[in-house]
Every structure is written in structure tokens, then in C-alpha cells.
Symmetry: C2
DNA sequence: ACGGTAAGCTACAGCCGTGTATCTGAGCAA
DNA sequence: TTGCTCAGATACACGGCTGTAGCTTACCGT
């Protein structure tokens, strides 16, 4: 007795959303390796029994959360500003990476014990829904409009921006500033597509 | 009673080396997050009590191992082959990354719960001893000899090769082939220093 | 208003890693 | 040879996570 429940009982979607949010936060904070039903339950303020009714282990909860999370925003290239659009695409990537979902994905990708299953599920859900990587959407757009030779847009070139942003995130732990992103665009991406900035 | 010990008892350095090897292998396999005294002890075939006599927890064992491991080999730029030297530098990096020590380092860098202490110890030991990143050693050498303008060798440019190799390792899990490395050099690094390959 | 579904609450046995406390006996030095 | 040091082998209590079981009770549809 005693009104030990200030909030009313959650059911269905509301509860599941809370759990999804909880897993993503949890994995972002402690990593896939340390993900436990206990931790998820505590964070979502739900007993473990509720979790076991629906999922068999923490990884399943995580996968389910990834399948239901909002897709990553895609860069929308404007009219005539390749440089600006590239910076915006990278900014989009950084913002997403700092999200719980982004951190969760990072944790999964770098887990030495990550099973192929999880890896695949990740690519299906998070990356396949999008047109490609962040910068390559922009680059393809401008290549089609003849701003630079399309044959220069190789897989390696499409990866340059994301690779440098990722490295910076790993090395320093801090998000790159706009100046950093501009430097990446000017000094690495643009030269690779044959456009040396003035 | 029963020669339950085929091998004789290890002492001092021999034992410690075995333990160091064990931690690095262990962390490479399961990640820092799942590192336990139990696991290290099993792999080194030594009781946990021996570990506790010297170290207080698994991280300490790992740090000690990192401090005592062989430094990373440095690229030695040859006379007049920037392209070839860059590929060799990246190859060196890939080879090292596949090493237990390399995998251990990767695991540490990407651990969400990684303490600043471990992070710092890592940079002191593994990176500070070297002249810089793998490709930057090569690039600096050729910049000094006037093969390209030295002001193009920015921090961003110095990171391009390592960043792309890292991304590939993370994405595919498989080591890049020589063709991949050549593509990285030709399509990303050389253009960035103003040298478009023929 | 009623009844079914499922969330919330214990409880429990089992496993695994922890940290400590002994005890033994091998290896080494004086 | 003697004696010290320290690796090796148990043993144990503790705490955390697991997976399951049983019960109560809030919510919701009819």
C-alpha cells in the first residue's frame, strides 16, 4: 500500500519507447560489452521481468531499439555551394554521432566481440536506409551537375570526410568545430575531387 | 605426488612477460570492458593470487603491459619514392593494427568508459615515442626535400591516410589490401599535397 | 461492471568475477 | 645445505547479473 506509485503504470508503446531510449543511453554510456538487463531495467525504471517477457538478452533489446529509432537525417544539397554543403553534411554527421543512437552505433561497430548478426542488423537499419554516407550524397549531387569529373568520386574519396571526422572524435573525444570541418573539406575532400580552393 | 607440473615453475621476468602477452591477447579478444583478472590468469596459466600480488585490477595489468611492449616500428622513407613510401607506411600501420597490441590499443581508444588515465598512458607510451603518425613521418621527409609545398602538410592532411585505413578496418573488419592502400594514397593523400598522380 | 492482459513487485537458485587468506613447494642465493 | 622468496594451488564470503516463477493489480476493451 502507500501510494508508492506517483506515476501511473505504463503500457505498450509508451513503455517500449522508454525502454528503447534506455538501452540507447545505457549502451552509449557503458558500451555494448557492459550492457545488462539489470542496467536497462534500472534506467527505464521497469523490472527485469518485463524485459524478459519481450526480449531474450540485452543485445536483442538494443537491436530492437535500433530498428525503431528515427532514421538519420540526410544532407540536402543546395544549389551551388559544394563547400558549404560538404561542411553542413559533416556537421550533420557530427551531430548524429553525439546522439545516444550515434554513440550506440559507435560502440557496436568497435566492439571486438561484436557478432556478425549485430553488425549486419546495424548496417541494414542505420545505413541502408540512407543514400550513402553523409558527404557522398552531396558529392554525387555536384558530380552529376558537372562541378567535377564523376570518375573522381571513388569509394575512397567518398569516405574521406567521414574518416577524418571519426578519427578526430576518437582521438580527442571532443566534437570538431566548424573550423575543423572546413579544414577537412578544404584540405582533404576538395583536393581529392580536383578542386583546390582559392 | 604425481608430476602435475610438466613445465617448471616460472619466475620474475619470464612470468611477467607471459602475463603481459596474456593481457594484450585478452583485451584484443574481448575488449577492455570485459577484461578480468580471471581471464588474464587463465590465459597466462597463473592463479589470480599471483596477479593480485602485483596489480590491483585488470587495467593496471594492461597499462603495465603497454608500458613494456615494443615500440611501434617507424617508417623509414627511402630516396625518391613518395608514393611507395606512403603505401609502405600504411602497410606498417595495418600490420601493427592487427597485432594484439594494436587491437588492444583500438579497444582502449574506443571504450566509452575509458578513463582519462588510461587514455593518457596510451598516448605517452604508444604514440609519444614516435615521430608522429605513420604517414606524416614520410610526408615530412618529402616536404623538407621540396617535393611539395610544406605548408600543405597540415594536421588534417597528416591524418588522411590513417583515418581512411582506420575507417576501413572498422567498416569491413578485414585488413585493406595493397590495392586499397594504393587507392588511398593516390586518391586522397597525394591530391591533398598537390600531387595528382599521372 | 467485468475480465483478460500485461506491468509491477518479490523471491530465489545459479554462475561468475572479486578480493583475501592460507598453505605448499620450487627456485635461487649465501 | 639451508633458508628466503615467491609461484602455485585451494578455499571462501561477497556482490552483481541471470533467468524463471509466482503473485498482485492497474489498465483497457467489451
Amino acid at each position: 500500500m502507500s501510494e508508492h506509485n506517483a506515476r501511473s503504470r505504463r503500457r505498450g508503446e509508451e513503455l517500449i519507447n522508454a525502454i528503447h531510449t534506455a538501452v540507447l543511453e545505457e549502451v552509449a554510456e557503458v558500451g555494448v560489452a557492459r550492457l545488462t538487463m539489470e542496467g536497462i531495467g534500472k534506467r527505464a525504471a521497469t523490472p527485469r521481468t518485463t524485459l524478459y517477457r519481450r526480449w531474450s538478452d540485452p543485445i536483442e533489446v538494443l537491436l530492437d531499439a535500433l530498428y525503431h529509432m528515427h532514421p538519420v537525417e540526410e544532407p540536402t544539397p543546395g544549389a551551388d555551394d559544394l563547400r558549404g554543403d560538404l561542411v553542413r553534411a559533416l556537421r550533420l554527421m557530427v551531430d548524429w554521432a553525439l546522439t545516444p543512437a550515434g554513440r550506440a552505433v559507435a560502440s557496436i561497430l568497435t566492439d571486438p566481440k561484436g557478432s556478425p548478426r549485430v553488425h549486419e542488423a546495424l548496417f541494414e537499419r542505420v545505413f541502408a536506409n540512407r543514400g550513402g554516407t553523409f558527404t557522398s550524397t552531396v558529392l554525387r549531387h555536384y558530380a552529376e551537375r558537372g562541378h567535377f569529373p564523376a570518375e573522381l568520386l571513388t569509394p575512397v574519396v567518398a569516405d574521406i570526410g567521414e574518416a577524418l571526422v571519426t578519427k578526430r572524435l576518437i582521438d580527442t573525444g571532443a566534437p570538431p568545430s566548424d573550423a575543423d570541418l572546413k579544414a577537412i573539406v578544404d584540405q582533404a575532400i576538395l583536393p581529392a575531387v580536383g578542386l583546390r580552393p582559392a
